[in-house]
């Protein structure tokens, strides 16, 4: 189990992924807090505007698109947090690659661009990967922890860096990039039918906006392509660790098992599959033991005690069902499985983040207990 702790300690990038509602954001924060307490400078990037998390971290004004120092005691380490602002990030990327302000302005004010920045599937994932690249290059931080968007398919994040280049490689784009001075009219005989066809469906203004966008883009493709390659390389680097987070729900486990396997197959480094929010078992007994004791107590007319035993039986049944799902679905996982129990309260303060961190990194918990065997 100390594997994950060491791995994260050595990493420069940790990517938390998994389906929605499994506790990725909280897990990323707990992990970041723990590493900061080990003396490193950590920045956690979250995707959702998780207000409770901001409150828990002591940032009453919420997370913003810029890293903010989290006011917690971390010794020599530092914890920073920010929230991804995808449209703002997109604009920054465009401005970064543009040859001059005029080119950048033409792009960011284009209606096609604005629609793309908000509606193109994969844009959020793409911008998360850009943020990762930017923060990794930032001298202020030793470790970047990124919480990926809840994707329809988690693989989208891995392909995100190439969203725009795939777009640029598309033949429609190539047609639209062809030099022209007066808009559509002078497209060659070969390209015109296709563009006309598209124009008839989406309307000529839409096509006009798209053409204007792609033409404004001329000269920037090389920069975007290079960046996509750099991000792809960073995601595969030895000091990048993926952590797959799941809940004990059947469908989430199926997806986590598949995703963990897929990551390994594709050559990414997976540190662990974290099963979050498992019901605790309360001792070694079985549900039947507890129900037997409930029956005995009922026979003695001790109804309160019987209710307590029945409750224990019910919780053990829940835990046993989750256990069998986890064992069945993660039995063949090629990566370590770390289990985090469901806490009596929802995570909403530093204390509960710490609690979570102790389960994520049992090695560290044991280090502080001399008798520990971790």
């Amino acid at each position: 189990m100390s594997g994950l702790h060491d791995l994260v300690g050595r990493s420069n990038v940790v990517v938390c992924c998994g389906s929605g509602g499994v506790g990725k954001t909280t897990g990323a924060a707990a992990l970041g807090l723990d590493v900061a307490r080990c003396g490193r400078r950590v920045v956690v990037v979250t995707i959702d505007p998780a207000r409770r998390l901001a409150d828990a971290l002591g940032l009453p004004d919420g997370l913003t698109g810029e890293p903010q120092r989290v006011p917690v005691e971390t010794g020599d380490g530092e914890l920073w947090a920010m929230m991804l602002d995808a449209p703002a990030m997109f604009e920054r990327v465009v401005r970064g690659h543009a040859t001059d302000d005029e080119q950048a302005e033409r792009i960011v004010t284009n209606r096609f661009y604005r629609n793309m920045a908000t509606a193109l599937s994969g844009t959020q994932e793409y911008m998360a990967s850009e943020a990762l690249h930017e923060l990794h290059a930032d001298d202020r931080f030793d470790l970047v922890v990124v919480d990926t968007p809840p994707s329809r398919n988690a693989i989208e994040f891995l392909e995100a860096p190439s969203v725009l280049t795939r777009f640029l490689d598309h033949k429609v784009f190539k047609l639209m990039m062809m030099p022209t001075r007066t808009g559509l009219k002078i497209f060659s005989a070969a390209t015109q039918p296709l563009l006309n066809a598209i124009g008839r469906v989406v309307g000529s203004d839409v096509l006009g906006d798209a053409v204007a966008f792609f033409q404004a883009f001329a000269g920037m493709e090389a920069g975007f392509r290079q960046r996509a390659d750099e991000v792809a390389e960073l995601l595969r680097a030895d000091d990048t660790t993926f952590v797959v987070v799941t809940s004990p729900r059947h469908d989430a486990l199926v997806e986590a098992a598949w995703f963990g396997h897929e990551l390994v197959e594709r050559g990414f480094g997976v540190g662990a599959i974290v099963v979050n929010r498992l019901h605790p078992t309360f001792g070694d007994g079985t549900p039947a033991d507890a129900h037997d004791k409930a029956a005995t107590a009922r026979d003695r007319d001790d109804l309160d005690l019987a209710a307590m035993w029945t409750n224990l039986g019910e919780l053990r049944e829940l835990a046993a069902r989750e256990r069998s799902e986890v064992d069945q679905l993660l039995a063949t996982a090629d990566t370590p499985v770390v289990e985090v129990p469901l806490l009596p309260d929802d995570v909403h303060d530093l204390e509960s983040l710490d609690h979570l961190a102790q389960y994520l990194f049992p090695a560290r918990r044991n280090e502080s207990e001399p008798e520990g065997n971790g």
Binding site: S19, A50, N115, P149, V201, L305, M308, L315
Partner: protein, 314 residues
């Protein structure tokens, strides 16, 4: 709302789009609502957008009768082109993947054509109820705001008309409502409230009742501090810890249910099923609860809590 069943309150419009963040049970609510309506004799169509086969297994009879449809943007766009006199274009574009080509020129059109197809199903008159299992996770708001975004980018043309039609549908409370799903936990309830604001402000659609899924039905165990366990104390440590744990989780549930009730007029609950993975019979069981009349309003709040507050009241 006295006298009406959850099913009646959830189906005040012909089209119901079920939405919510990932992991809250959107697909479960879609299936339960469709089951309840079908069992009440309605002609129900279920529309699924993620290509996942879960609903076919949960609603086997509807699936066998082609009443569980999986919509993809590519197929919807191709059909749209064929229906609107773009047969030759569709053929020419098909070679390069219609949706990809058109989507490159007009990002977001994939969402629009899917909503357009849903509108067509709603209009067809073939169905009393069309239930849509909305897109996963955070995509719901993007999905629903795309027509407005495209409407700004497009004037006239088939896409503009389609966007107009879809916006009209979304804004018409008699035709369309959005049912949001959440869990009785802190983060899902925060997200519910944020999503509801976004739908009211940015989509302009009508919200149906909120469904709180996975309710722990109790009963709440007694407070271990007040139970006299006498000489047995050491042997009941596990039971005492379990009781304290359950009581704490139920307190979270009560608190979060209160927040949902404070923010929304109409709230429907679904009980957690004691299984690891739901099956068709669990869906049927849950659907039965949608058909039952709720107790009158003044009793309902109490009834939600009765099993939980047993000790607090005494």
């Amino acid at each position: 709302m006295t006298g009406s069943t959850p099913l009646q309150r959830l189906t005040t419009s012909r089209l119901v789009i079920v939405a919510g963040k990932g992991g809250v049970g959107k697909t479960t609510v879609t299936a339960v609502l469709a089951r309840a309506a079908a069992d009440a004799g309605q002609r129900v169509l279920v529309v699924e957008l993620d290509g996942k086969p879960t609903l076919d297994g949960w609603l086997p009879d509807l699936a066998a009768d082609d009443r569980v449809r999986h919509l993809s943007a590519g197929a919807a766009l191709e059909e749209y082109l064929l229906d609107h006199g773009f047969r030759r274009i569709a053929k020419r574009l098909a070679k390069s993947g219609v949706i990809e080509v058109i989507g490159t020129a007009a990002p977001g059109i994939d969402n629009l054509v899917v909503l357009g197809k849903i509108k067509q199903l709603e209009r067809s008159g073939d169905w009393d109820l069309v239930v849509v299992d909305g897109p996963a996770a955070g995509h719901a708001i993007t999905f629903l705001t795309t027509p407005a975004g495209l409407r700004d980018a497009v004037t006239g043309g088939p896409v503009g008309e389609q966007a107009d039609d879809v916006l009209e549908l979304l804004a018409d409370a008699a035709r369309c409502s959005i049912v949001l799903v959440t869990l009785p936990e802190t983060t899902p309830v925060n997200e519910l409230i944020e999503t509801a604001d976004a739908i009211r402000e940015r989509v302009g659609a009508t919200l149906g009742p909120v469904v709180v899924n996975q309710i722990d039905p109790g009963p709440e165990p007694p407070d271990p501090e007040t139970v006299d366990v006498g000489r047995l104390r050491a042997q009941v440590d596990d039971a005492r810890a379990a009781a304290a744990f359950r009581r704490s989780r139920l307190a979270v549930q009560r608190l979060e249910l209160d927040r949902v009730h404070a923010a929304f007029d109409d709230v429907v609950t679904l009980t957690r099923r004691p299984v690891a993975a739901l099956g068709a019979d669990d869906v049927a069981e849950l659907a039965a609860s949608f058909g039952h009349h709720d107790p009158p309003d003044d009793e309902r709040a109490h009834d939600d809590r009765a099993p939980l507050d047993r000790n607090a009241d005494s």
